[in-house]
Point group: C2
Chain length 460, copies 2
Amino acid sequence: MKMIQKLKFIFEPKSVAIIGASKTPNKIGNVLLRNFLDTKFPGKVYAVNPKYEEVLGVKCYPSIKKINGPVDCVIIATPAQTVPAILTECAAKKVGGVIILSGGFEEVKRDDLAAQIREIAKKYEMPVVGPNCLGVFNPYTKVDSIFLPMYKLERPKPGGIAFVTQSGAVGSTVVDLTAYYGMGISKFISYGNATVLDESDYLEYLMNDKTTETIILYIEGAKDGRKLLQTMKKVNKIKPIVVLKAGKAAGGQAAARSHTGNIAGSYLAYQAAFKQAKVTEAEGIIEVFDFVKIFEQPRPKGNHIAVITNGGGIGVLATDHIENEGLVLAEFSEKTKNALQEILPEYGNVANPLDLVADAGVEAYAKAIDIMMDEPNIDALIIIVLTQTPPIDERIIHVLTKASDDRRKPIATISIGGTYTEVYRRILESKGVPSYNSPLSAVKAIDKLVKYANYQKQLK
Amino acid sequence: MKMIQKLKFIFEPKSVAIIGASKTPNKIGNVLLRNFLDTKFPGKVYAVNPKYEEVLGVKCYPSIKKINGPVDCVIIATPAQTVPAILTECAAKKVGGVIILSGGFEEVKRDDLAAQIREIAKKYEMPVVGPNCLGVFNPYTKVDSIFLPMYKLERPKPGGIAFVTQSGAVGSTVVDLTAYYGMGISKFISYGNATVLDESDYLEYLMNDKTTETIILYIEGAKDGRKLLQTMKKVNKIKPIVVLKAGKAAGGQAAARSHTGNIAGSYLAYQAAFKQAKVTEAEGIIEVFDFVKIFEQPRPKGNHIAVITNGGGIGVLATDHIENEGLVLAEFSEKTKNALQEILPEYGNVANPLDLVADAGVEAYAKAIDIMMDEPNIDALIIIVLTQTPPIDERIIHVLTKASDDRRKPIATISIGGTYTEVYRRILESKGVPSYNSPLSAVKAIDKLVKYANYQKQLK
């Protein structure tokens, strides 16, 4: 079996062993085991540490050798110099795959230790995630090597977004944000130094992963640039990849090198590769988020956008951004115009953006959306709802969820404000309705979706 | 007395009359009066409406004429065609100033009604805010004509930020966001059609307003471009202006015209004016926010930035943005390097960004910040705190507040995450510590502060 296929032992293990299980609160080996117990991982969990007889009520083994029965996934949280020997034991035990969380390898110039790991893994065709990483999280199977307490870092529900990240810090913050907004993920992979398997291998695995629909890739420096380009090309045709590249400038490259021991390389080369592979590049962490959620919407047929608003100024801003991104304001047919006129107040003008004005209630939104869903000249809808006006009540959530579930055209919603609005936006997100807190981010996201849809159309 | 000076009757009134006070819940004249009663406005509040004897327990007058004693500020919420007659009554009564909330003037081509308003106001030198606006809010005096319920739109505490906005929708969302983050404002002015007083007049007023330190201007189209340029130049020398221009492209201009009846004009001309006046231009609503909060920090001496982080990847991203914006990573003196080496773990490297690694606790941050505040080669500090790691506890808030209060160098903090992080960020913001949820926004903000500080230095 190929090493990549063997990753299923890591993502869907029936048994997990934690090497370095600890009784000391807040130590990695303690948080790890506690997380497995707290989430009621359905498989077997073994603690391994020669210092203890038991940890957190779980029997503790002196070494992996002493465990009876098979072990699918081993998580190592012991110092770097102990890792090669443990890995050899894992091979002898025929474990399915290994996650090495420990740091202290390439990033501190211990390439000798890294080479030993690579040698053992290749010899036994044993997949190894890491080292120097947070490992994996799969909400479907509850395998979770993110050694951060759950009360500080929420875990997202099952869903369609896979996240491959070289940096644990970037990864964990995105996981936390995903959970906050009630978005679902399929796999989280923090791969650190990529000593054995690299970013391309994980992309390859996710291409065939049934639960994955969209892939986020955070990368500082690729192990093999040519391989990455070819893999991105192949995978992005089937599932959209949103990439965030760090280590773009000289200082960033130096910082990246001391971080995971990888050379960031020329950003221009990466940028060219991203363009060639037609992957969606994000400028920052928040933009990754902005883009990924729009990819859960249906693909637009073209670039003609309609805007609905109850606040004139926000509509004006959205229009600026639409034109600036090279999108086009849709022109409405006479039939649509007449239908829209009927829901506007006497002094209202049918235009795009359609300003329902501050008096607009939930019904006006429902009707306007219905009319626009039927209009063939419109390819995507941007719906601005300022929740602060008195006529807008919580039924608007139903209207927007219905519009998002309609699936005839993609929608993006915009709401800006304080506590009331934030709670409302989180409810929308948890129902799969993309919600943005600025016109700029909504329009940029729609633009990326239009471009990707266009690319997919050309492939046919 | 000049009309602009008379604005003090609107911002600091001893008595307020609400024309169009209403018993119907959610009607503007109802929400308005309720807000004045709920916030315990310390002056007199009069209700005016010939239909009622009393509204919400307040005696109701058939007209402004019937009120005994002076009225400083009149708020009009009756249909457009009734406004000129009411304004004439206000003049006869010698009221200090008038806010017209009602729409139905230039924006629906009723320039005739607008002309009447202008004529009366000029004849009696009576300042008029609006029409077609939300009017004003001053948290110091509790005058508040924002006719949106307080449970939906929070009101910010008193502070130093003034906000002048052509759009009520943009204005109200920013007010809401300001309150959400616990930031303080000095004045909110939604001026709508600018029929009598325009954006330049308000800027002029705020220049001499003691509580105002920073000014936000949202503008679609200026009444008088040349006047705006001259005023911005004058005011921005003393107090930084952050401007958000809408109606940049053709579609946006059309939308702006039907919104407040003003012509947005060529964006290139505006952009040139902003550059000439050296005001800080924001690209979107969230950026306005990002920039304004950094202006509460001390002015940096130069553009050399130091970064502290406990998450390598986020440090790499920050570095990219620093170099991309034309800022420079500070080089540390030997003394600083030696001092920093002592707080790092054995395998840690002193570099910029300074990666304290995920094991770093609150003490490491406190020491690193202290050392960097003493380093003359550093002009500004970006402090990344990933709150998800176990060693970071709530004492970090004290450390960052102390760094922000130090006032020797400006700081910007970055934290990214879910519920836990969001609560923590709100606490920081409420203590005046600028907190960002992405490296990109923090770096852009610091860049704007550096540019403004540089400009102010040149003036000396």
